[in-house]
């Protein structure tokens, strides 16, 4: 069937990329249709059940390389709100130095956007979604947060203790949640964080900020249409190669939707996968290349005290001291955070990241209430060997599945070694016993990167395709470098910027 009305903008994906953009375009008076592959949720739909998988992108992806990265739970989202339904809401701002990696280190890439311009958008994002954090912020004294930090949990207390003992600055982490009830425009009341600890399973009282509790209601209030369960399977072009519309599957039928402009905001895997499947926007040959995942190593230990780390906002402490360690033998740096991890997720990490099974695994898990961890989010450079390609096998829509090859290269390995050393020092100083490391990587970045050179990038600084002038990409795939900061907050800022640049064009 065909929808005869041509809309100004079709936005594919409703997370940190699609949400702010849709709100901005709709507010400017454009007709906007948001197509989201997943279901629509209300906060009350979420349960603290780690086996609930409806918030995650569970369709099969193939993972290769020397350090294959895991998908599924906690790495890719689906549903109206995208990954912001399940995200950890840990939202440091990007550091200016991380946007100029190539200038400073002659590796990686510079961002084609000035840091100050990004900061203005970051402030707007924080004001719109509601962020809690310390004021002032030790590494950026002028910064203030609207809400007081959530209660520290036991791992945060331990990290504070350990960091203080070895002279590392640490403080309450910026967290995209409200610690007082908030009247959210276009939505209603969001209750204060209840310290339930189940952020990754979806926030049942709307305390956590997500696209679903901020941008999407705003978009809808300004006339945008939000269509859940809509899976885009084709992009249609005219003779000149411009986008004329999309075809999406809704239940058992295909719907054709015409549009003036198309915004792909489906994330670092599905966006390049769609383009590769359709053979679009890839004159650079860069679609799918430069895949980056943060080095996300964790260090764990047992404490004599009862920790019960599932309680409270999970990542309630941060240190930015290691963004440029003095003794670094690698480019970039990493953030440190305290960890509260729910049992099933922990079990998975223990198996996959530490190789535990049998008596050893059971002994650690049964000591759950005495465990605590700290982890990092560390820079990852684009590498020739780290690439998303299409596998031979197809999904239910006849689209080839994504295969992602990922290996830590020299820089990631050196950073990992440094981080493990630092984390162990902190944990020893905090009084942890039986300390061990868990290898991990996280986030899906870089597969349609932005840049100034159309032979080395897929989109320009505004997110506009070099090949198709009414096709935009607005998701983590455009990140030129990984940056140490977790990506969602930056992504929302980029999303507003892309919208503004589009509206100004």
């Amino acid at each position: 069937m065909s929808n005869p009305a041509c809309v100004d903008a079709v936005v594919v994906g409703s997370g940190a990329g699609g949400g702010p953009l849709a709100a901005r375009l709709a507010r400017a008076g454009l007709s906007v249709l948001v197509l989201e592959a997943g279901a629509r949720f209300a906060p009350a739909d979420h349960l603290p059940d780690e086996l609930e998988s409806s918030l995650y992108w569970m369709e099969e992806r193939l993972s290769g390389g020397r350090t294959p990265t895991a998908f599924g739970p906690n790495n890719s989202g689906t549903g109206m709100g995208g990954s912001t339904l399940h995200w950890g809401a840990f939202c440091p701002r990007p550091d200016a130095r991380d946007l100029a990696l190539r200038s400073h280190h002659a590796v990686g890439e510079d961002w084609p956007i000035a840091h100050q311009e990004l900061v203005d958008y970051l402030r707007e994002v924080e004001a719109t979604i509601g962020v809690a954090g310390p004021s002032p912020y030790p590494w950026d004294p002028g910064r203030a947060y609207a809400y007081a930090p959530p209660r520290r949990n036991a791992p945060a207390e331990a990290m504070a203790r350990g960091c203080a003992a070895i002279g590392v600055t640490a403080t309450d982490a910026p967290a995209a949640l409200v610690t007082q009830d908030r009247e959210q425009p276009f939505l209603g009341r969001r209750l204060a964080c209840a310290n339930c600890g189940a952020c990754h399973q979806g926030c049942f009282n709307g305390a956590k900020a997500g696209s679903d509790t901020s941008w999407l209601p705003m978009a809808q209030a300004h006339g945008a249409t939000l269509q859940a369960g809509a899976r885009v399977i084709d992009i249609e072009l005219d003779a000149r190669g411009r986008v004329t519309g999309v075809v999406y599957r809704l239940e058992d039928r295909n719907v054709r939707q015409r549009c003036q402009a198309l915004f792909l905001c489906a994330g670092g895997i599905e966006t390049p996968r769609l383009l590769l499947n359709l053979g679009l926007a890839n004159s650079s040959g860069q679609v799918g290349r430069n895949f980056m995942a943060h080095v996300a190593t964790q260090v764990w230990g047992r404490f004599d005290a009862s920790m019960r780390m599932n309680r409270g906002y999970p990542s309630s402490l941060i240190s930015e001291d290691m963004l440029r360690p003095a003794d670094a033998d690698f480019a970039g740096g990493y953030l440190i955070q305290s960890l509260g991890v729910q049992p099933v997720t922990l079990a998975n990490s223990l198996v996959r990241g530490a190789g535990l099974w049998g008596a050893e695994l059971v002994s650690v898990l049964q000591d759950y209430n005495h465990l605590a961890g700290i982890g990092i989010n560390g820079e990852c450079l684009p590498g020739e060997n780290n690439v998303l390609t299409l596998a031979a096998e197809e999904d239910d829509f006849g689209m080839k599945r994504a295969r992602v090859d990922f290996s830590f290269n020299d820089n990631e390995q050196a950073l990992d070694v440094h981080a493990q050393r630092t984390l162990r020092q902190i944990w020893e100083a905090a009084g942890a016993r039986d300390i061990f490391a868990v290898a991990r990587s996280a986030h899906t970045l870089g597969t349609c990167r932005m840049g100034t050179d159309r032979s080395r990038a897929v989109v320009d600084a505004d997110g506009r395709s070099f090949d198709i002038d009414n096709l935009y990409i607005c998701d983590n795939s455009t990140f030129p470098s990984a940056m140490a900061a977790n990506p969602a907050l930056t992504q929302m800022a980029l999303s507003l910027r892309t919208a503004d640049r589009f509206l100004a064009a």
């Binding site: 599924g72 790495n75 949990n153 209750l191 189940a198 099933v344 096998e393």
Partner: protein
Amino acid sequence: MSRPTLFFLHALGSSGAQWQEVIAHLDQRYDCHALDLPGFGDNPVQNHTDVASLVQWFRQVVIDSGASSWLVVGHSMGAKIATLTAARADAGDAGLAGLCGVVLLAGSPPAREPMDASRRKDMLGWVERGSISRRDADTFVSANTAGPLPERLRERAIQDVMRADPVAWRAWLEHGSREDWREEAGRLAFPACIIAGAEDGDLGAQAQRDLNLPHYAAAQEVRVLAHAAHFLPYEKPLEVASEIDALATAALGRALPDDFLSLLNTSRVDPRMRARLIARNLPPDPQAAGVLNQAQRQVLAAIVAQVVDSSEGADELAHRIDIALAAGEGDGWRFAELPPDKDAWIAGLASVDALAGGFCHRTAAEQASLLGQIQRHELAVGAASPLDPDQLALWFEDACAQIARVWTSLPRTMAKMGYDGFAVARDGELALGYALTGANEVEAWQLGARRV
């Protein structure tokens, strides 16, 4: 664990007294509560005349009793209440989380109860002018027994019929027994034992097979008691008690600790979450399709026992994994070097079995050593192994991850860990999370609060 509780729900026209001879064989091991249904025995009918309100009444009795782990034994009319209460437990209603098993005796089914029209008409006629006469009560008791009861029991049964409230009697015959609750009852996973009298009429063995058995996934074939009709507790008290004891003993093996159950029963747990945890604590449906054959399932169970360091529950866990494989429930990705999950699991299990020369026949220490070698890519595989050493190591990681995932999500594992993170919920305008989050701080409601 406190002593488990048995609740007994009697038949139409009877009372809790009908269970005396059964309970005499059980009360050494169980707290036995023989209830009078509303309108029978000493219990006034109030407004509990339809099935929904009888179920609600029974739920309140369970809650008020403070029972932790409990089973329900329902006879005839009581069986319909028992099954539909089990359905509410399955749906996650607060207060019912301790249900461990169900015993039905000549049970009235969730469907309209088959009842001969003329018999129903006669029985309704008995209460036209008030209470049931001795003569009609005598007729009723005779019609429901295969042979003569000892006089003492017969007199008790007759007295109970005579003191039945005509309102309750009529309500059951005209409405309760005819209400159709099949959809609500659904297919229940609770351990169950279904018993029929060989000489019963409308609610005999065939009716039990047709109308009650399909609602209980874990129930075996209907147990038929010879030389008995409908009044099984009076006619065959020893046999009935022994069936109850056998089921209860097996079912209580999976009972959750008292403190875990009381937390599970509070409003801190969302009913949908409660339902999921209850379901996870029950056996998987024996009829649910898997992809593994018997031998493959046994190898998997042996690997499960290694990975979670215990053979307790290993078969069930292997079955759960098999069902998930058949349903195509992946984790959203796989190693590029491996075939799709189903093929990888079958190949992985075959490889482990081939390398061990029969994995299940090896000692636990040999099994552990072999799996360690697999994990470290150390095994030279022969032609009999479908996977090469690198693939096998990757598959073993996947297998460990899936086993650990399922095991960690089980309520009994949570209980052992002292994990109470499932007990956070939105309760109206209240968001129930944690008021305390620091080290060594524990709230009074939390698991293990008293031990700290």
